[in-house]
């Protein structure tokens, strides 16, 4: 066994039955990143699967403690790299709660936040579906998914200036309004989406090979799911209709009309169907948000203690210049206290517990990463299945290791 793997416990080493221990990962095409699984197998059957994490530990939470409140967002976006805007949205909402400015965020900013969060969810599910397909040998799904994702990334790039980590959602609102032409780009995306979804469903949903590989594989009971703290599509695939957007609404989600897709089967196929339905529901929200975007308005809070003053005022007003200098050079201070805020990320309940001691930097930023809790359920669902089905189970839980290891 590799020296890099975790040392085996004494009872595994001294066993005399026919099981053997196998290390899967950390470099493996189907572990969706740097996951190592210490497998105990009896011929082809998994007796025990023990996820070993930490191969991507980046110290993001610690790094965030040394940065200004606004700067920390840049580091935090790199946690869940499939849905960066969900991270920054959650962090921004938490800091806004601490600052007590939640009610003063301009409505247009909240609409664009919802829009970006839902587009991010679709893009993230596209990556999940593409890689899940590749794991099962269905290569062409990948090309359809990444084409759709590319359209969403183009929209993000136009809005925030970067493809993957645009840092568009800021504390107090947004980095800037949507640029000219982005609404027509969005309309084209909305028009393209239903056809693309039909193609994706057509490729996999009724495909007998796909069904054989996923139906009754990786059954997760609702009780186990709740005990392991599983959230998101993996929980809803087991029949529990818990969604942060509905349970603890933020950004005005209570004013949008959408369903929470659930399935009761609890297997990998159910989780697949839930995610596909979720993409369609997300697009429903995007359409509603799009209709509200026709009226212009401010997208950043009108408070120069938190937000930069408008660029055009800087050359004319001494006060604006001073505020600009202060916010840039020493950031802003946040009243002492602690706060927990969660949002529904693509993988489940993404939460930030933030402690402030009144400084211009966070004292502690603790993440509740949905992937980490979802991944723990692997230990529960893997035993008794074949090794080949293990990649299906990992794929159906959709872990992102930037978030698991942080």
């Amino acid at each position: 066994m590799s020296v890099y793997a975790k040392p085996l416990s004494a009872d595994i080493v001294s066993r005399t039955d026919n099981t053997m221990v196998l290390s899967m990962g950390p470099q493996h095409p189907s572990t969706h990143g740097v996951l190592q699984i210490v497998l105990e197998i009896d011929s082809e059957n998994v007796v025990e699967a023990d996820p070993e994490i930490g191969y991507l530990h980046t110290g993001i939470e610690k790094t965030a403690e040394g940065l200004f409140w606004t700067q920390a967002q840049t580091a935090i976006e790199r946690m869940d790299y499939l849905a960066p805007e969900s991270n920054s949205l959650c962090y921004a909402l938490a800091v806004e709660k601490l600052l007590g400015i939640t009610d003063r965020i301009p409505p247009r900013a909240q609409i664009v936040r919802v829009l970006i969060a839902e587009l991010t969810r679709i893009a993230s599910h596209c990556v999940w579906l593409g890689t899940h397909g590749i794991d099962l040998g269905a290569i062409s799904v990948f090309f359809y998914c990444f084409d759709l994702r590319e359209n969403i990334l183009d929209f993000q790039e136009a809005a925030g200036g970067a493809r993957m980590h645009p840092n568009y959602v800021r504390i107090g609102g947004l980095n800037g309004d949507l640029p000219d032409g982005s609404l027509s780009r969005l309309d084209a995306l909305i028009a393209k989406f239903p056809g693309r979804m039909r193609e994706l469903r057509g490729l996999l949903q009724a495909n007998p090979i796909f069904q054989d590989r996923t139906i009754d594989v990786g059954y997760l009971s609702p009780d186990d799911a709740i005990q392991y703290g599983v959230t998101g599509p993996s929980l809803r695939g087991s029949g529990v209709a818990y969604d942060v957007r509905r349970a603890y609404p933020y950004c005005g989600y209570e004013s949008y009309d959408f369903d929470i897709p659930t399935r009761v089967e609890g297997d990998a196929y159910a989780r697949f169907l839930v995610r596909l339905d979720e993409m369609e529901q997300s697009m429903r929200i995007v359409e509603q948000a799009r209709r509200r975007l026709d009226t212009p308005g401010p997208v950043m809070i009108d408070d120069t203690k938190v937000a930069l003053p408008p660029k055009e005022t800087i050359a004319l007003s001494m006060e604006a210049l001073i505020h600009h200098f202060k916010v840039i050079s020493e950031g802003f201070r946040v009243p002492p206290g602690d706060v927990y805020q969660s949002v529904e990320g693509p993988r489940g309940e993404l939460g930030y517990y933030i402690v402030s001691n009144g400084e211009n930097r966070p004292y502690r930023v603790r993440t509740r990463p949905p992937s980490m809790y979802n991944l723990q359920a692997l230990k529960c669902i893997a035993p008794g299945n074949l090794i080949a089905d293990l990649v299906v189970m990992i794929g159906s839980l959709d872990p992102v290791f930037g978030e698991v290891d942080r």
Binding site: V34, T63, R78, D147, R163, M164
Partner: protein, 159 residues
């Protein structure tokens, strides 16, 4: 240039070998972090790395020519990356993709190795956080150029 029946061509064996080598640089399937998603994107229809002959991502280091270090290398991952590099057969090339792999990037802390070139030799560095897929394609181009010219060593892919 076409060669008809009864005609023949002369070339140096070295040049033919380098041409063949540079047209089939097979990368290793090793995704680390955010950059890995952009590394996957270059295989998609819009960027299509197959044009360069590099679409064959190999899961085994024994079959790979090119290691794309796509993302931050954590202290725990460092020995694994080194071992994978050692397992690759010569000749082999390395692209350090993104700020984190090249220098530690924004994560100047206890957890991240400050540049993968502290553990393995790097041929091309790609700036960006993450670099665009075009940036990675350009880096593969530079690797091909290096192979054809026979040179090695830290080039920065200024896209």
């Amino acid at each position: 240039m076409s060669v008809g029946p009864g005609q023949f061509m002369l070339a140096r064996l070295d040049d033919v070998a380098r041409w063949a080598q540079s047209s089939s640089v097979w990368p290793l399937t090793m995704g680390l972090a955010c950059c890995a998603i952009e590394m996957m994107t270059v295989t998609s229809a819009e960027y299509d790395i197959a044009r360069l002959g590099s679409e064959v991502f190999r899961s085994s280091p024994r079959q790979a020519d090119l290691m794309i270090v796509s993302g931050r290398v954590a202290q725990k991952m460092g020995p694994v990356v080194k071992r994978l590099y050692d397992q690759m057969a010569d000749p082999k090339w390395v692209i350090s993709m993104g700020a984190c792999a090249s220098s530690g990037g924004m994560f100047d802390n206890y957890a991240v190795i400050q540049g993968v070139d502290t553990i393995i030799p790097v041929d091309v560095y790609v700036p960006g956080c993450p670099p665009t897929p075009d940036g990675l394609l350009y880096a593969v181009n530079l690797i091909q150029q290096q192979i054809r010219q026979g040179g090695r060593g830290g080039i920065v892919a200024k896209a």
